[in-house]
Symmetry: C2
Subunit: 344 residues, 2 copies
């Protein structure tokens, strides 16, 4: 990995030899997680092609490839358009499918756009794989957001899917398509339901990228972080190198084909505690203040949520490696020298 | 109702006075169930507007309105295009939303088209209602197909949704949008998960319209009916007047807003028994023969399925009225004089 998040690399390199020389496509590979995954695959000796539409607001950033730009092929293409998708997937041993929108509020403002980005594009990719890459190993980036407000904690994969926004509904469909194409066509696809993921390469603007990057941006500048309510909502924050390890592990574990699999984080931390760790790591004496819930946020809030990741652990041996304090420190270390590239 | 299915009408007319003078939009109103619903609403004194895109293959048939064409307004418009949808919903007391595709095999052949018909169109309608008819009462036609292969019988609304084809996935999304718009925006929408519905106004071609209309078409001509496997799969067949009664009852029952509700049929009947009843009612000595499952059908078959409709009964007093033998007889009576209009 180019910067930050070395934890877990040693383990990865020991067991992931089969990626060496393999032909891999990473969709959304200019984005936050996709760019780290591409870098890890390069490090493992894979022949990596990135496809990204560079849709504004979705996190694609050419700067994310600064350390690997000579080692990967980059194709600018929009999966919403079926033209050319067959050529992109043809001959790939692996497709890591991280394209899409994860912006809750944007999905409520423009539900049709969310549908096109998260459902139409995914159907195009799956149809292309069915036709032109039926043997490929496909791993889709889904979200714990699909569960909605948890009825039981920790959230197991069998928990009902009851998303609270259009984005969550469309992600459920996108995941269901992936699993259906396994069931009906034998396509070797898995879906990873990622919990809140953080680390280098996140955009730092407030808005659709979630509270994590917003908090980090504020902490960097010593500004006050507002937490909604009392900030007691619990999350299991996932450092990006652990997310990458999960994709890599699932991609070579045949038994996970056809499955939806939780990727939970390291421990359980309240939103307020996360904010305080950000301020502490930044060392600039910014404060954390509780404020009332804004109406649009409250309508789609899910309360505390953390995942049971025993299915992934049993199938692959994966466990999250990077604790919250280490992860936040590495993240802030990164942005101290690179923040200019993550603000518009 | 114009033809057939008089059972239940008396009860309906007693309790449904509030539709008199109300302004009602029926989407997909040229189709099988939509046209019966429109006729019932006319009979109840409602001011009915039908919108239909007349998409080939979806069952729209101007002949379905032959008895009410002077009593309803018909707008040819495609909900996939957002232009004009606000004007259509504005001022309506009720919107019965029966537009969409229910064709399992077509959804696998052309998943993007199914997505546009069942998700994009529904988002357009919901956005228009949110903006221009926030007080309307909206009832959506969903399907028991969303459950997939039942894990428990009869299938209750809490049964996991695990559809076996793209159409089922997209219907789940369409329903979820309707319930989300209730939760987030207070839109008074309900979703009816209809079991296998039959009766006058079905298309009679083989193909995407399910086995029921195909069987009836064969029986009319005294031809052999092939049932897949041994034909022992059980269904709870729903006569169309009972489906109409369910829409009407839910449309005036405020407590059902925000809910998904099963609409089950009258009793439980095997597919083979249904075929034999068709042959018997036709009186033309056609036979019923068991044949092996075709591969494309077997891949998306769900086995036996019948619904628990106690939620609907508790909320509205609705119960199915038309038994299977009566329903099949009325259906065949209808097609003896009208079949010419239901074949292409």
């Amino acid at each position: 990995m180019p910067t930050g998040g070395k934890a877990g690399s040693a383990r990865r390199l020991q067991s992931l030899d089969e990626y060496a020389g393999s032909r891999v496509l990473v969709t959304g590979g200019l984005g936050f997680i996709g760019s780290h995954l591409a870098a890890a695959l390069v490090e493992l000796g894979a022949e990596v092609t990135i496809v990204d539409a560079l849709v504004p607001g979705l996190g694609a950033n050419p700067y994310n490839l600064r350390d690997i730009e000579d080692s990967v092929a980059v194709v600018r293409a929009d999966l919403r358009d079926p033209a050319g998708v067959d050529e992109l997937v043809s001959g790939r041993d692996h497709v890591f499918n991280l394209a899409g929108q994860g912006d809750h509020l944007a999905s409520m403002r423009d539900p049709e756009n969310d549908l096109a980005l998260n459902c139409r594009a995914q159907l195009n990719l799956l149809e292309a794989c069915r036709r032109s890459a039926p043997e490929t190993r496909l791993v889709f980036a889904a979200s714990r957001q699909q569960y909605g407000r948890p009825r039981t904690l920790p959230v197991h994969e069998d928990h009902p899917l009851d998303p609270v926004d259009v984005n969550g509904i469309n992600l459920c469909s996108a995941e269901a398509y992936h699993l259906l194409y396994h069931r009906v066509y034998g396509l070797r696809s898995s879906s990873l339901r990622l919990t809140n993921t953080y680390g280098p390469h996140m955009r730092l603007e407030e808005g659709g990228h979630g509270f994590i990057s917003h908090f980090i941006g504020l902490a960097l500048h010593g500004e006050t972080i507002d937490v909604y309510g009392d900030g007691s909502q619990v999350r299991d924050f996932l450092y990006v190198s652990d997310a990458v390890d999960a994709f890599l592990a699932v991609g070579i574990t045949e038994a996970t084909a056809g499955q939806a699999i939780n990727v939970g984080g390291c421990g359980r931390t309240s939103v307020r505690e996360f904010a305080e760790l950000c301020q502490s790591a930044a060392g600039r004496s910014g404060r954390v203040v509780a404020v009332p819930w804004p109406e649009d946020r409250a309508a789609i809030d899910v309360g505390s949520v953390y995942l049971d990741h025993s299915r992934l652990e049993a199938a692959t041996g994966w466990r999250p490696q990077v604790g919250i304090a280490d992860g936040i420190r590495q993240t802030l270390d990164f942005y101290r020298s690179h923040a200019h590239a993550y603000r518009s």
